[in-house]
């Protein structure tokens, strides 16, 4: 028995490591590239691991005048998007699930339809809208645009989760003296914390890494986000893969850290039901 369990553990670890390696291979490749000197990257026989480990690429990156500004812009836009999406989506999903109003069913469907809409189609109309509102080349325009992209998904995910909460808990809260807003704030949100966390993280990542709209709506260097910054860098340093890889790693680092911190919540939040083992 004991030997068998040990064997199982070993098999588990090996399998797991292999799978993780495959899934994370692109990330690993980028990380290793970012730690190579230039002559090891552009070569006829590239190796996986650097022969000479170096932080030169990172030094170069942070010495670039605009890079910290890109980081700050992305942080600002992504945070505001995440916060606004979470709050608005929570209220909308609450109304869609538990309040009665005309056209509710159709509205629920529309939300999903919007979610399915190809982003690229909205570029031209959104550009026109921003132009009319004199919002072109502002970070406000980006936040508003990202909101319109992330809300459908956020509402849908929270709605799915809310639907798994028994309505009796809300009714108990109402009998206990809660207003609708207090029901949402004191009962639904704490119970749905995993889904709320998922929406916040996914929205943050979207805002952090979005490229198409950031490229269309932002025109001056001062307002560029890091996704565009990477592209700009690629323009100036077309063949400097080491520098680009370092920028990529810097860009993804906060996301990975954040994800690892909240992963338990996220997974719970997305596994709506669990197959229970029979007694």
């Amino acid at each position: 028995m004991k030997t068998r369990r040990l064997t199982t553990s070993v098999i588990q670890m090996v399998t797991l490591s292999a799978v993780t390696a495959v899934l994370l291979f692109p990330l690993l490749l980028t990380l290793l590239t970012s730690l190579k000197p230039a002559e090891e990257i552009i070569t006829t026989a590239p190796a996986l691991f650097p022969r000479h480990w170096t932080l030169d690429n990172y030094r170069t990156l942070f010495a670039l005048r605009d890079f910290p500004r890109y980081l700050w812009n992305s942080l600002l836009v992504a945070s505001l998007t995440a916060a606004a999406t979470t709050v608005i989506a929570a209220m909308a999903a609450y109304a869609l699930v538990w309040m009665r109003f005309p056209g509710k069913r159709a509205m629920g469907r529309s939300v999903f339809f919007t979610y399915m809409f190809p982003d690229i189609l909205l570029v031209i109309p959104l550009f026109m809208v921003c132009y009319e509102l004199a919002l072109l080349d502002t970070r406000t325009a980006l936040v508003l645009t990202y909101l319109s992209l992330s809300l459908p998904f956020g509402i849908w995910l929270l709605k799915s989760y809310f639907e798994s909460i028994p309505v009796s808990i809300l009714e108990a809260a109402r009998l206990d003296g809660c207003s609708e807003f207090q029901c949402l704030w004191k009962v639904v949100l704490p119970v749905a914390m995993p889904a709320v966390a998922a929406v916040a993280v996914l929205t943050f990542v979207m805002g952090w890494s979005e490229y198409l709209y950031a490229n269309t709506l932002i025109t001056t260097n001062a307002n560029r986000t890091i996704a565009i910054g990477l592209q700009t860098l690629a323009g100036y340093h077309r063949t400097d893969y080491g520098l680009l890889a370092a920028a990529g790693i810097v860009m993804v680092a906060p996301v990975v850290v954040f994800f690892l911190a909240v992963q338990k919540y996220l997974v719970e939040g997305l596994a709506f039901s669990t197959t229970k083992r029979p007694e």
Partner: protein, 367 residues
């Protein structure tokens, strides 16, 4: 504490389903009224209307003399125990119990005293710091009760509170609810489909069917004088045996005639004037399993309904024998050890004192 009154209440859902028809009932101050009926009869909807969780379509509801049609749930001063308990999963037991008081702005010291007092009454003092998922089903039930009791509401509404417990625990909690009711002197409206709960807990029972009130009476009244065949067959396990018989009068005596003889109705029960309209016509006779008697000795021993044994169910403390007769299958209650063999011929006699008669058309009680 307060009384609850429903006056001509109708409920039609948005989808057009007319689930409650003209419900008029009164629950006196300090009464324990049980709403009993099969699933889908609308009993839970009645409770939800009283709580204010659903709007009533027409009619009026009064709690403590005040018309509450348009009063929001939180201002009706009622407490409800839900079938699934509806505990807040993210709060400890203490916070669950305290939540309603806190929302009403009770001072901290008073709140703590009340929560602890209530927890002591329900014997859950040592669970206060646990989360709902860390306590057992029976304990969750107690927490739900504590949350209702701590508020000291005018009326308690209980929606099938024992249906998620296993049989053993259900018996235990039934006794405890009874004790609690007596010590609180509360007004309680209790919904169930379990007639044992209704019989043992209620001071009065309201039997519902398809959104219509069938009978309002004490448990004993409902059991002994069901107003129609629905109530007669719904209350009692196994259900009352119902069979058609012809009502005749011979030598001044009322007689239920069946193919193999007749059953004389006791003079004390059968008043000639009352039964006359049904003379000569077929009525539905009802007899409970414990008021029928099984004779196995000799198949030719005299008056009685002959039949053959179809099935024997022995529960240990008693046995039920299903007998196939000319009027269909009839169940008789017999002592646990009575030797009965399948397919053997038997004779049934009935205790005439306990025969029920119903009109064949309207299904309403005659006698």
């Amino acid at each position: 504490m307060a009384e609850v009154r429903l006056v001509h209440v109708h409920k039609v859902f948005d989808n057009g389903a007319h689930v409650l028809h003209d419900i008029t009932m009164e629950v006196g101050d300090g009464e324990f009224v049980v709403l009993l009926g099969p699933s889908g009869c609308g009993k839970t909807t009645v409770l939800r209307l009283i709580a204010g969780l659903e709007d009533i379509t027409t009619g009026e509801i009064f709690i403590g003399g005040r018309r509450v049609n348009d009063v929001p749930p939180k201002d009706r001063d009622i407490a409800m125990v839900f079938q699934d308990y509806a505990l807040y999963p993210h709060m400890t037991v203490y916070e669950n119990i305290a939540f309603g008081l806190r929302m009403r702005g009770m001072a901290r010291a008073e709140l703590q005293r009340r929560v602890v007092d209530t927890a002591r009454v329900l014997d859950i003092l040592d669970l206060l710091q646990r989360k709902p998922h860390q306590v057992s089903g029976g304990e969750r039930q107690r927490v739900a009760l504590a949350r209702a009791i701590v508020r000291e509401p005018k009326v308690f509404l209980l929606d099938e509170p024992l249906s998620n417990l296993d049989a053993k625990l259900r018996g235990h909690m039934r006794a405890e609810l009874h004790r609690l009711y007596r010590s609180l002197g509360a007004t309680i409206i209790y919904v169930t489909h379990d007639q044992t709960e209704a019989m043992t807990l209620g001071t009065r029972i309201v039997v519902l069917r398809d959104g219509v009130v069938q009978q309002v009476d004490t448990p004993r009244g409902v059991y002994e004088k069901p107003v129609n065949t629905f109530v007669a067959s719904f209350i009692g396990t196994p259900p009352m045996n119902l069979f058609p018989a012809c009502l005749v009068q011979e030598q001044g005596e009322f007689l239920l005639r069946h193919q193999d003889g007749g059953l004389a109705l006791p003079a004390a029960k059968a008043s000639a004037a009352h039964l006359r309209p049904w003379l000569g016509s077929t009525v539905i006779a009802g007899i409970r399993p414990e008021h029928a008697c099984l004779h196995t000795a000799s198949p030719a021993m005299g008056k009685g309904l002959p039949g053959t044994v179809e099935m024997v169910e022995r529960t240990g403390a008693e046995s039920f024998v299903a007998v196939r007769t000319g009027y269909g299958s009839m169940v008789v209650r017999v002592p646990p050890d009575l030797p009965v063999s399948l397919s053997s011929p038997v004779l049934l006699t009935f205790d005439a004192e306990h025969v029920h008669l119903f009109d064949a058309g309207s299904q309403m009680r005659i006698l």
